[in-house]
């Protein structure tokens, strides 16, 4: 608040400036970009498919053969399989977060703006869902319906994240309800859907962006967790979770099978968490 700006700057531009000044957020963003690029084009360079068995080189050590990071016990290329896992993690993280943002924002903005009985009923549902042992239900559900079914996996993971999002958005929307510009919109006869999309949602986007950024690593983590338990992606497809599980089984004889996917997963999670923290400091200065 001490800044004496001579040129009027929009709050988004100011926030963007703060994001760029946060060193860890920039490093994280650059690192994540590099990882995403590598995951997109990297597998093509190596020349090995992710599911081809190489009987000549079973559980080969890194750099010992043509396989850059070695192979698993079936002779499959670890470098390529790890990058496939990263592709899946990124896809899950972004899709599931998008699902939770869409549901959460729609739900929270509607409840918060309409208020009264509707608000009470909608938030009651959220409270009940929040009290359920969600994780266990999702674990049970993926085990029952969707072993190997990627759509079920995406849906199940996306369905978890929207609850907190709905609460955050509702809180913001409630605080907007009596602001002059909203009352003006209501007084001028704008329809509710239009008010929601044109006035309420744009004004709650800050916290949504922050929470969405922090949701991505949670979703990635959740997918690997389910895959680790054998409930997510099935052979021969690779997820970072299945790679860590397989690696853990052979960590005595072939530690690289554990270390490579585990460190990639950690870097990925770390990157998204740092990025989310940087965004929060930039967009939500109260909490810095």
């Amino acid at each position: 608040m001490l800044e004496t700006a001579t040129v009027p700057v929009s709050s988004w531009a100011r926030s963007w400036g703060r994001v760029r000044r946060s060193r860890s957020a920039c490093v994280a963003a650059a690192g994540l970009g590099a990882i995403a690029l590598l995951a997109a084009v990297g597998p093509m360079w190596s020349g090995f498919p992710y599911d081809k068995l190489d009987w000549q080189h079973l559980a080969a050590a890194p750099f010992a053969t043509a396989h850059w990071l070695g192979t698993d016990r079936l002779g499959r290329d670890l470098y390529v399989r790890t990058l496939y896992g990263v592709r899946l993690s990124l896809a899950i993280g972004l899709t599931a977060t998008a699902i939770s943002v869409v549901i959460g924002v729609a739900w929270g903005a509607t409840a918060g703006f309409l208020g009264g009985r509707v608000d009470g009923a909608m938030m009651r549902i959220v409270d009940v869902l929040n009290a359920l042992p969600y994780l266990f239900l999702v674990i049970a559900l993926t085990a029952l319906f969707g072993r190997g079914n990627l759509y079920v996996l995406f849906l199940a993971i996306g369905a978890v994240g929207w609850i907190t999002m709905a609460r955050i958005v509702r809180g913001q929307a409630v605080s907007l309800r009596h602001r002059a510009f909203l009352e003006a919109a209501v007084a001028s006869g704008a329809a509710t859907p239009r008010i929601l999309t044109r006035h309420v949602v744009p004004n709650v986007l800050g916290p949504v962006v922050v929470y969405a950024a922090l949701t991505i690593p949670q979703m990635i983590l959740f997918e690997s967790f389910l895959s680790f338990l054998g409930l997510g992606v099935q052979e021969p497809l690779a997820s970072l979770g299945t790679l860590v599980r397989d690696g853990a089984e052979q960590m005595g004889s072939a530690p690289w099978l554990l270390i490579v996917p585990a460190s990639v997963l950690v870097v990925l999670l770390l990157g998204f968490n740092l990025l989310g923290d940087g965004l929060r400091d930039a967009l939500d200065p109260r909490d810095a």
């Binding site: 009290a131 359920l132 042992p133 239900l137 049970a140 085990a143 029952l144 690997s224 967790f225 853990a248």
Partner: protein, 307 residues
């Protein structure tokens, strides 16, 4: 006042549990397949008889009624896949293991996390603070199924300090699983404690306490700590949920005979009573943890009792 608050908070417990039972019962039955379909070499007549023997041929609503009646008598039913053993017996076998691990992990998390957070907040920008912050960030990015195998690889396989697998009630067998479960929670608790203590130390009543000449130690112990620990208390519910979830992983990584494997295996096997038993067990645990956190919060902070 406290009693009224406690009653109000506990009122939702039974209805929520009932809702969990009802929703899970029907959703689980929606899944394709059945408990005896994977069984090889059984003639269809035998399978039909098995289904009839367990009442699975009845309409779903009848089965639901029967299940709820059993629950009211404290019966969780027989396991469909592990013959001659009831779900209660399976839980009685596995639960002591899981509960020991979980309780030890919660204790470690609080006893290590809170002092670490206090230390970091009191010596801001010191080495301890930077280490605690780095540790907190790492804790977010290191899931239990990564920490577990890595700890086992370094401390178990290479250094031979601790046992890597198996279940015995001695230090060597407990250290790695408990550490794996506790580390992410320690990191989060430390982060919460640091942040909220820093905020509390800026509050007016702390300035007043300092102004009336209390020693820094008294200011912190008598005035600042209690409100500063409130966020940690409200995190207790989610923490217990996190530890219970983590125990699914830890039990599989370290080969421990807890209850974790029943949930996953039971669901894969379509062992309906077993899955229900596990959902009820974990659901109750989560609800109890949340309730305990609420009550503790109300006791520490009189304002919420009157809200």
């Amino acid at each position: 006042m406290m009693l009224a608050y406690a009653l109000r908070r506990s009122a939702a417990f039974i209805p929520t549990l009932f809702l969990i039972v009802t929703v899970s019962f029907f959703v689980i039955r929606l899944a394709p397949g059945g408990p005896f379909e994977a069984e090889q070499g059984l003639p269809p007549e035998v399978k039909a008889n098995l289904r009839a023997a367990y009442g699975l041929d009845q309409p779903l609503i009848v089965q639901y009624g029967r299940y709820v009646r059993g629950l009211l008598h404290g019966e969780l039913g027989p396991s469909l896949r592990m013959r001659d053993i009831s779900v209660s017996e399976l839980i009685a076998r596995g639960f002591p293991v899981s509960a020991t691990l979980g309780a030890a992990a919660v204790a470690v998390a609080l006893l290590a996390g809170i002092p670490l957070g206090i230390g970091a907040a009191l010596r801001r920008h010191s080495l301890l603070d930077h280490l605690a912050t780095a540790f907190a960030v790492a804790g977010l990015a290191l899931p239990s199924f990564v920490i577990g195998p890595l700890l086992a690889l370094v401390l178990g396989v290479h250094l031979h300090w601790f046992a890597v697998a198996g279940w015995q009630l001695d230090l060597s067998h407990l250290v790695l699983p408990v550490l794996t479960l506790a580390l992410p929670v320690v990191a989060y608790v430390a982060r919460l404690t640091r942040g909220s203590l820093l905020e509390t130390l800026r509050a007016d009543f702390v300035r007043t306490a300092r102004a009336k000449g209390l020693s820094e130690r008294q200011v912190i112990v008598r005035h600042a700590l209690r409100p500063a620990l409130l966020p940690v208390v409200s995190y207790l519910g989610p923490a217990v949920a996190a530890i219970v979830t983590g125990s699914l992983v830890v039990e599989s990584v370290f080969g421990l005979p807890g209850t974790g494997r029943y949930l996953v295996q039971g669901a894969i096997d379509r062992d309906y009573p077993l899955v229900m038993g596990m959902v009820i067990l974990y659901g109750t645990l989560t609800l109890v943890a949340n309730l305990a956190a609420d009550l503790l919060y109300g006791w520490l902070d009189p304002r919420v009792r009157h809200a």
